[in-house]
Amino acid sequence: MSGPKAIEVQDLRLAYGAREVLHGISFDVGHNEVLAIIGPAQSGKTSLLRCLNRTIDFVGSATVSGTVRFEGEDVHKVKDVFGLRRRIGMVAPLPVGLPMSIYDNVAFAPRCAGVHRRGDLDTLVETCLRQAALWDEVKDRLDSLGTALSGGQQQRLTIARALSHQPDVLCLDEFSIAIDPVTTMRIEDVLKELSREITIILVTNLVQQARRLASRTMFLWNGEIVELDTSDVIFSNRPNDRRTYDYVHGIFG
């Protein structure tokens, strides 16, 4: 059986004004797969993620062509784009605690979706904070400010927020740049756990992290997919493209 994939991207082109940053890329992500995207800065990784959940719509100068399908449905034709964004969770690279209490940070998305019963929210908040490995540190001060947390805690709060709307696909954009190695490992464990139920797209600059977590890895460079293969191949001594080898082994450029 081959139903629709979780994400299918066909000839996606994205331009900011006259400057094209994604030059027609195609790939797909299967259900419960962990796909890593690696590549240097300015290669279009974040822009690509923004096309998936259509937050690219907020960039006035952006023009998108090609198709992005989520569960077989063209994201540009969905009626409820806010519902779409709830099914594709997004963790931004910089930790952003919203200026409200820790509880409200996590309860914000469910509330926007119309969940208001206190009991439901309580359960959800605890589950998400536990999944983001933050619960033990904040359970006694859920009323204090999300922005008053340390950088690493705010990053995990961001992850908890992304989980709070129970997405089917979770995109993480360099989630570990503000977190210490120990916490990073804890969150990686959580991601492994989560990957049994949901699809994960992981943008990372840590080559080792991609190798640990992802079954397949994409090397994106200057808005083009240089290589997309199983992580074993990408991180081996013999990837198909010389540039991949150079990048992964730190002799790029």
């Binding site: 937050t55 519902g83 964004r85 997004m90 931004a92 952003v96 200026p99 400010l145 922005t147």
Partner: protein, 303 residues
């Protein structure tokens, strides 16, 4: 002993360090001096006004009617008239201005139409008040047939304050980090949900500051109301709080100050100064209450 002498050489001032220290001191005192120089005229103005106004200052001066062609008595009708004008004009311009600014900053895309609106706002903010007065005369007094009235004068003041409120509100909204909005959008919040939850709570004190500044402007301008609804003298029941109807003409402090200081011979010298003190006090009163509101709101601000 050797250790001591080593420590001494290490912490001896070098020529460079001494120069830096001097520069630091000069900078600090220059800034401090400017800050003080700014306060001096303010204190001097208030002290001088109080000194000259002293013979007339009393509660009666505030709550009584002018008598003997403004040469005696109080300024109650002008005081109340100013409050009417300020409150009504801001009740019109603040909501319109804030909502327009929210549209421009949060919803509007970079299209020719929105650029046109922006251009209009900027240019309106630079129009002299006498031009607004003529516009108010033509639009509200004649075209809309409000006649010379509080409505016409308030609307003219509202038109005058509107662009500045829009500009200052936009600035307050723009100071809310973009990352907050993006975080909300990423979890499926609509623009309005984002504005309600994050943008407004964190910009409301800045928005209020902009509105507060327009209170003083609306209270102090003479030209726009002179053409549209303010009069030299209007008899009202002394001591009543709502003496005017909206279609009435009214007296106003700024206008009254102009009248008593230039138009009427043999006015007691302290009366114009006392009028100025009341005008200052009124603006201060409105400002202080608005600042109180702002402080209260800021204490609820979460970052």
């Amino acid at each position: 002993m050797a250790v001591v002498s080593l420590a001494a050489t290490r912490f001896t001032k070098t020529a460079l360090a001494a120069r830096k220290e001097r520069a630091e001191a000069v900078a600090k005192w220059a800034f401090f001096g400017m800050a003080v120089a700014m306060i001096i005229p303010l204190v001097a103005i208030i002290a001088y006004l109080l000194y000259r106004a002293a013979p007339s200052l009393s509660l009666e001066f505030l709550v009584e009617m002018p008598r003997r062609g403004m040469r005696e008595g109080g300024i109650w009708p002008a005081f109340i008239g100013t409050l009417y004008l300020v409150v009504i004009s801001l009740a019109v311009s603040a909501p319109i201005g804030v909502l327009a600014a929210i549209y421009l900053n949060e919803y509007a895309r970079d299209t020719w139409f929105n650029r046109l609106i922006n251009l209009a706002v900027i240019n309106l903010a630079g129009v002299p008040s006498i031009v607004h007065a003529l516009f108010g005369l033509g639009a509200f007094v004649y075209a809309a047939k409000f006649g010379y009235s509080i409505v016409a004068a308030s609307l003219t003041l509202a038109i005058m304050t509107l662009p500045v409120i829009i500009a200052s509100t936009r600035e307050a909204l723009a100071s809310v980090p973009m990352a907050f909005r993006e975080a909300c959008w990423n979890v499926g919040a609509t623009r309005w949900q984002t504005i309600k939850a994050v943008v407004l709570p964190n910009s409301i004190s800045g928005i209020l500051t902009g509105v507060i500044l327009q209170v003083s402007r609306a209270a102090g301008e003479t030209a726009p109301i002179m053409f549209t609804g303010a009069v030299f003298f209007k008899a009202i029941q002394p001591g009543t709080v709502f003496p005017y109807r909206l279609q009435d003409q009214c007296m106003a402090l700024s206008m009254h100050l102009y009248t008593v200081s230039t138009q009427i011979p043999n006015v007691k010298e302290s009366i114009p100064y006392a009028t100025a003190i009341v005008l200052l006090g009124t603006v201060l009163l409105v400002n202080v209450s608005a600042i109180g509101l702002r402080v209260w709101l800021r204490n609820r601000k979460r970052w």
